[in-house]
Symmetry: C2
Subunit: 436 residues, 2 copies
Amino acid sequence: MTGIDHTHDVALRSWVPEADGHPDFPIQNLPLGMFSVEDGAPRAGVAIGEHILDLPALLVAGLLAGEAARAAEAATGTALNQLLELGAGPRRALRARLSDLLRAGTPERDRVAQLLHGAASCTLHLPATIGDYTDFYVGIHHAENIGRQFRPDNPLLPNYKHVPIGYHGRASSIRPSGVPVRRPRGQAKASDAAAPTFGPSTRLDYELELGVWIGPGNDLGEPIPTGKAPAHVAGFCLLNDWSARDVQAWEYQPLGPFLSKNFASTISPWIITPEALSPFRIAQPPRPEGDPRPLPYLLDEADQAGGAFDLQLDVLLVTPSLREAGLAPHRISASNTRHMYWTVAQMVAHHTCGGCNLRPGDLLGTGTISGPDRDACGSLVEATLGGREPLRLASGEERRFLEDGDEVILRARGVRDGFASIGFGECRAVVLGAVA
Amino acid sequence: MTGIDHTHDVALRSWVPEADGHPDFPIQNLPLGMFSVEDGAPRAGVAIGEHILDLPALLVAGLLAGEAARAAEAATGTALNQLLELGAGPRRALRARLSDLLRAGTPERDRVAQLLHGAASCTLHLPATIGDYTDFYVGIHHAENIGRQFRPDNPLLPNYKHVPIGYHGRASSIRPSGVPVRRPRGQAKASDAAAPTFGPSTRLDYELELGVWIGPGNDLGEPIPTGKAPAHVAGFCLLNDWSARDVQAWEYQPLGPFLSKNFASTISPWIITPEALSPFRIAQPPRPEGDPRPLPYLLDEADQAGGAFDLQLDVLLVTPSLREAGLAPHRISASNTRHMYWTVAQMVAHHTCGGCNLRPGDLLGTGTISGPDRDACGSLVEATLGGREPLRLASGEERRFLEDGDEVILRARGVRDGFASIGFGECRAVVLGAVA
């Protein structure tokens, strides 16, 4: 390792076919995940172009040493939790070595090439065992859009600009991209009905979120200060927090969403590291005039200066008709992570300020990230104003909420002049009809 | 095994000293847990009187066969999840064999006696790795008491009598009885203050709950009907869902409690099996006149006839002055599990009705179980009417909320004519002051 990090150089080229200019996984990304080939057990891998590099095999081949080998040794199990737990040092050493092994001109090309698998023939798994999953609510436009449907004159609740609002979600039902989602059945009550009924949700929705993988944890009773929070973050993913709005409206008082959210959550399976995202860090956008200053435990100078992200977010929809007609996915919305009112470090610090312990492999969601405009909504309930104004698709179809057979695709992408663009890979799932 | 279950016989005696008439662990109970001796690794055990029987050692000694051996084999790891997953068959076989080995007059006495440890010299651990923890709200008097503080004329929200309200809690911060609980710091806002402040909670409270251990799980997308729910329940414990009321009041809108609950939960470490509790099953108490009939997915004849429990619940408080004066713990309240508006089977069926998957070792809490009277409140915020009317203790002290050094003890006990009484063991923890 040298003291200078060349892993982001826009001029860096890879010998792996299709890696250069790959929309998601050029050599500047190098995300970590768990994959399997045919009936084999899940093993750790690194995405590069349309290939996956077998990490344990790289270790066995003797191509890693020192901290990079330590990182790979921690990735020889059936999940990446131990690697996440190691923190930034080994992770960065691994990245530096991987970058060196995969760059054009490396002398190790032939040895490494034998350890690549075509991604198309691999199955991707959850990258880590998720102990606890927490979902936040830091997308302020989402909070306003939702709040406006209930309280037109006062959409944000009084706590919103003081508290990074969050709640606990369900870990057991999180699945990687590609696993279909079954429409849930549940209780709902129409506003004009005397009593609730039980049946398939008629207001099924997606939510566009950024996921945050926790690396090193904290002990119970020992909060993580905002300034130290980045050391506890191991990476990022896309998260679709599927929501049954009719179930949610009836069940959520007074303890919050439950069955309306726990039937499925979909994540993109690659862990995009903080190192890969460093070119896309930005200062926290200034709070609007008149907004309260965050309490001291949420304030850190470095976090204010560079704790936010500029990542383009897209939601695309493929309906059965679009699919049959061979038409492209319809882009429903385009948003950006800069619309987060609180940073990831503030989420971590708030989560632990009362002593709650995070563990390696825990997953945090940001909550839905909507932009200020109608075409930047991170959910259908926002984009259609609660189903009142349907979206019109290129196929001529309308959507108020999701229909059976619809497939939702989330994408995230960092784009910055002078740097190679990288993406998160897709987070997609098709909606299946409810069980009869 | 014979076809007749003698494990409940009130006349059954054990050769283990102090087991007969033990308030918690006579031979009719036989709860399962994880214990360690000195610096040893946690191992599976069975509580009998003031002793713990080493389950893996029993297996190694060749004292188990067939399904009972299969159960013990599943309990040779560092947590009981695999045993819980096996379900009722092996668990019942193990109970029958344990009962036979521990009864007075057994020919195996000498061999088994060598495998007993004095409980006082053992450390108890969480019995299972908790994947997800869900807390319900089925104590209707609690819901009314809390609701009345916000809405005197209409304490219950419209969904309460239709929906077994629940929400996801934090699994990482659940600790076994005896581990101290640190007072959390957090945001709170006085009703007359313009802005929130951050500091130690001044309204720290306990919550008296029954915990439910999930045994065999269900696949994602495959609901568990109410009638089949008992097969998925592996046992019960006490649960203290510590709560910071000031933090809760400020944070809980619109997504529910978060930091106000996730700093600690305490459980009694022994899994009380459904078999041990079978004498204390009762019919679900009739719903008050005018209450809606539950929707069909929550109704099962057998569950209505015997899905509730008659278990005495107690909350005791030890203040530093009581402790110094050598006075007995002060009983704050006496409640009963018959005050649950929904049964455990209804909780399980509701949790999974939208497809959410439960996994072996998941923990469900009932929510606070209060009785209808002031001396049957399962939390201080109820007993003191939100802190307005302090409790007076035998020491002459008053309590509105918990103070540093206070120890809260929860107890549960089944008592029925013609049957041996059994208890859950204690669920206790002392409150430590907040970190400076």
